[in-house]
């Protein structure tokens, strides 16, 4: 699919497949999801300008940006000082990267829900996984949809 040209900047679909912004000199810029099953008809023609906001923010009322403060998710491609796009309207599911509240603090981790147990996994061997106990003040704050990294 439209994955020609060189990558301009790293806009990653958190944890999973990444999106690439590919540019070809003298031709329109295409966005296309690498894993998409069907070529999007929208890729075939371009009207006006591509709006990165519209692309990254599906639900504007529910979308917030947060800044990454540590390296606990480094192996998911989430690095210190990156900006995460967080969509609160999405339902958290097993294996999604989420913003959670644990004991009053916002944290980014990968959510695991297995056999009735909930845990938050770091993507860095230096950090322990956190199994959520009923006694903990725990809440899903939002689902991370993208990470914006400046090189």
């Amino acid at each position: 699919m439209a994955r020609k040209g060189k990558t301009l900047s790293g806009i990653w679909k958190a944890g999973e497949e990444h999106l690439q912004v590919a540019a070809q000199v003298g031709r329109p810029i295409f966005f296309s999801r690498v894993q998409a099953g069907f070529p999007s008809p929208a890729d075939d023609y371009v009207e006006g300008r591509l709006d990165l906001n519209a692309h990254l923010v599906r639900h504007p009322a529910a979308t917030f940006f947060v800044r990454v403060a540590g390296d606990s998710m480094i192996n998911a491609g989430i690095r210190p000082d990156d900006i995460l796009v967080v969509d609160r309207s999405l339902d958290a599911a097993d294996r999604r990267v989420v913003i959670a509240v644990i004991d009053g603090e916002l944290t980014v981790k990968r959510l695991r829900m297995q056999n009735g147990r909930i845990s938050l996994m770091a993507e860095n061997p230096d950090y322990p996984d956190i199994e959520i106990q009923p006694s903990m003040a725990f809440e899903i704050w939002g689902v991370v949809t993208h990470v914006i990294h400046a090189f």
């Binding site: 009322a61 917030f64 403060a69 606990s72 995460l84 009053g104 603090e105 980014v108 704050w141």
Partner: protein
């Protein structure tokens, strides 16, 4: 017949703080008007401690320390952005929506099946909470006044748990008895005091009061109030205030203005004139836009810019509008340019009827609290004392100042202040 729903954000400013600082959940929290240090929002924990709305916080210093109350200055940027998000979510449920204040919207929900209303209210509540983090309560009834009564009870009653459908007249007597006359929409403390002298202490007694007597004492707004309490709607939904005409005040300068004070003066007078026009036409504005322009015939140095600010609540109040215009001006002003023209637009115009003419009470605490919050924003943007002339009478010495001067970051409106996650 129309059915109204009012969606009211719970302790809105406090709730906004909690979304980005979840450690505040369950803790006592106060938000102050920065200008004079009065509480403009209180968490439920604080309400239980008996700290009143609008009470000067320096007098409560001991209580605050004793209970470890978290005190914040108003964060106008945050509250405005969160308000916009809540309205955006609500407008997905009903296009028939009237934004009444920074934390309240009326919706026309006539098309919702009667037996589905409560469930609809719960869905509204859950969706706003999930999408924005803001807890809301929902009151439903056949008039705006009754829906306000419903939402007040929705918050208080454990059984209602945030949603109360008061469309059935069989529930009115009880609901109105539970509503002190001071808490009826549009009855200020002055009228409340007067009504109580005549034995009218709750909304039921007001509804059943002698019409002629009320008409004589309170005028046509009084009889409208009685009608509204009886379920006869007098105040329709104001659907599209933004589609009404806008007010523009602008002028080209004879000589290019280089002096920034001169530009501020010009913008001040345009904003003041705009506010006067609003009041003359019994309108309020939700947005203030300021624009400035250099000489268009000198393209090499041409500069044009505009800035729009949302007012804390729709208003026609001069200091609020001037303040917003000046705050906007400060953001777009380039000191070295020669300005030929400046002006203001007032948009999102709505009728002043519910906000002002029906307000029997000239000293409405909630509104003056909001006024102070926006004055704060201005003084923040423009530097201290920009609007002292407007606020001088309120609390000249500001004894609280420096004691609780904590504004949270602009979490949602500035890249350099985003919440940090580990």
């Amino acid at each position: 017949m129309t059915v109204f729903a009012i969606v009211d954000c719970n302790n809105f400013y406090v709730s906004c703080e909690r979304v980005f600082n979840p450690a505040l959940n369950g803790k006592p929290v106060i938000v102050l008007s920065n200008n004079d240090g009065c509480a403009v929002a209180r968490s439920n924990e604080v309400k239980k401690l008996g700290i009143g709305m609008g009470s000067p916080v320096f007098k409560q210093k001991d209580t605050i320390e004793k209970h470890g109350i978290h005190v914040f200055s108003s964060n106008y940027a945050l509250y405005g952005d969160m308000s916009r998000r809540v309205v955006q979510v609500l407008s997905e449920f009903s296009q028939d929506l009237e934004v009444y204040s920074i934390d309240e919207s009326f919706l026309d929900i006539s098309r919702v099946r009667p037996d589905r209303r409560t469930a609809f209210g719960r869905t509204l509540m859950a969706t706003v909470k999930k999408f924005t983090g803001i807890p809301v309560s929902v009151g439903m009834a056949r008039t705006k006044t009754l829906s306000k009564i419903a939402v007040r009870l929705a918050k208080k009653s454990a059984k209602a748990d945030g949603v109360l459908d008061l469309t059935d007249p069989r529930h009115h007597d009880r609901a109105l008895e539970l509503t002190p006359v001071d808490d009826v929409w549009g009855v200020g403390w002055r009228y409340a005091k007067f009504l109580k002298v005549y034995g009218i202490a709750n909304a039921r007694q007001l509804r059943d009061a002698d019409r002629t007597f009320i008409r004589k004492k309170m005028g046509v707004n009084g009889t409208r109030l009685i009608d509204e309490l009886k379920g006869v709607s007098c105040y329709p939904l104001d659907r599209n205030p933004s589609q009404k005409k806008n007010i523009t005040v602008s002028r080209s300068f004879g000589h290019a203005v280089t002096n920034l004070d001169g530009l501020r003066e010009a913008v001040t007078s345009y904003a003041a004139r705009g506010a006067e026009k609003l009041r003359r036409e019994k309108l309020t504005a939700g947005l203030v836009t300021v624009f400035i322009m250099t000489d268009r015939f000198k393209p090499e140095s041409f500069y044009y810019n505009t800035k729009t600010l949302r007012l804390a609540a729709p208003t026609s109040n001069s200091p609020e509008i001037i303040g917003a215009a000046l705050a906007g001006l400060a953001e777009i002003l380039r000191p070295d340019s020669l300005y030929k023209k400046a002006g203001i637009y007032l948009t999102e115009l709505g009728p002043a009827s519910m906000v002002q003419t029906v307000l029997f009470d000239p000293v409405d605490r909630e509104r003056s609290a909001r006024l102070m919050a926006s004055l704060d924003a201005i003084n923040t943007a423009m530097g201290k004392n920009t609007l002292t002339y407007a606020s001088a009478g309120l609390s000249p010495s500001r004894p609280w100042h420096g004691m609780f001067n904590h504004r949270s970051p602009a979490w949602t409106t500035r890249w350099d202040q985003l919440p940090r996650v580990k």
